[in-house]
Subunit: 272 residues, 2 copies
């Protein structure tokens, strides 16, 4: 059986870490991880793991350390950069890297300027956001106060972004535009087929054959009741150096799938 | 500084594993993890980690193995139990436990009955859903075909549920009602305050003091722009053996927080 690893070339793999108890208790749905996942995928990376941990220094440190040990090309975290007692990402990351946490002068200037222009005094809590691991580079946050933290370590681009979605997205884009060193030259393309009246288990043997034949990624997502009223979303995804080549491969796979669906009396839909 | 661990007594901690490339690429938001997190939290568990991994046997096995090594009381996974080539959770779990994957007769009977009553023939793909780690107990799935997988290992209740949300929720409830051995006697309570016109960084020193004073969990979630128009959601959460005791503590904390908010010219809102 063809492994996905072959297709996606795991040299360009990425990991995501989200920090915050609210995700673990289910209070907050982890949309930050989805956004980061989509963005990294669009750049040709394959996200191989997402880890959500509590606001505790040791948990954060171990999540970063374990991710670093798996040698991805990029690690992006979100959460834990704010001014409160439970914002501990900078400390956790420093511990994972084995360096000191120290006042980053550039970060402090960024923060100071934002408060000063609004005539708001700087406090210990506000100053806290300028503490970063030794050697880190602050990343501009145009949507809020806390700068992102960028570190290049063991050939891995490591970025910590704030947890507020708008700020996370902004810091992530600034990092991609100005700092990201490991750039995949892979293109990623995907296409979908929506089908009614075909059970996932009926289509399964065809999908298995096509995955083998084309060395491509096909996944069926059941969207309704398997037996009484089956609706399937079929995802066909590939990545490679030549966009045209992937396009052609996906088209061929779609053609064969549509043929199989016809045999199984499936009804093609335009959307879900 | 008071650690959350003290408050939540991590003897009752839990982990969640979700299996599926669609979560990693950001195609699907991980609402399954949120549901499982909320449900386990309501039972008095503290979810300490959520790990999302690819549909690969080795990745699934390592996620389970690492979770088992951290000695939680419960591990709940979702995804990867279906009939297709990329459904590999049973195999990954067997590998993590160091046991064989084998045809589970009870599971096979469950599956057979569902197809037979609808006069649908059994195929290799459909039979696949009956393969489970040696010693596993199938968990009834009243919303679909694939049964859940329950294993009691190293004093840990391990449950694998399907990835379709409706099926996951049903299998989870069947497991809680019939199989869950490690039952927390802790009650968990939480309350919220919504406030306008107070910056998170202004409230931070008060929150820090109250966390110390009451040994309770307080978290501020900024919902708008920190400086131009700050809106905060303040979460106050506690758990313990006596429901009344936690209630009183949360009320006292709320009282002191409202006092601090008044000092900071905050405006209390009824909701976000």
């Amino acid at each position: 059986m063809v492994s996905i690893v072959n297709i996606f070339m795991d040299y360009w793999f990425a990991e995501i870490i989200t920090i915050g108890n609210e995700v673990l208790s289910g209070k907050t749905v982890n949309t930050n991880a989805s956004h980061i996942g989509r963005r990294l995928t669009s750049l040709g990376f394959t996200v191989r793991r997402i880890t959500a941990v509590m606001d505790e220094v040791d948990e954060i440190a171990s999540a970063f350390r374990e991710a670093i040990d798996r040698k991805p090309r990029v690690i992006v975290s979100s959460g834990g950069l704010g001014p409160t007692w439970d914002d501990k990402t900078a400390e956790g990351l420093a511990k994972a890297l084995g360096v000191n946490l120290e006042l980053n002068k550039t970060a402090f200037d960024m923060i100071l300027e934002k408060y000063m222009t609004r005539k708001i005094p700087i406090t210990e809590e506000r100053k806290k956001m300028a503490y970063m691991p030794y050697g880190a580079i602050p990343v501009e946050n145009n949507e809020g106060i806390a700068p992102g933290i960028y570190v290049y370590h063991n050939n891995i681009d490591i970025l910590a972004t704030p947890g507020v979605p708008r700020e996370m997205e902004n810091v992530l884009e600034n990092f991609i535009n100005k700092m990201l060193r490991n750039r995949s030259n892979l293109k990623y393309l995907e296409d979908f087929i929506y089908v009614e009246n075909v059970m996932e288990s009926s289509l399964a043997p065809y999908v298995k054959e096509l995955v083998k034949k084309y060395d491509i990624y096909i996944k069926t997502h059941p969207k309704s009741y398997e037996m009484s009223h089956p609706i399937l979303e079929i995802q066909i995804a590939g990545s490679g150096k030549q966009e045209e080549e992937i396009k052609v491969k996906i088209e061929k796979v779609k053609f064969e799938l549509l043929d199989a669906i016809k045999k199984l009396n499936g009804i093609i839909r335009n959307s879900l």
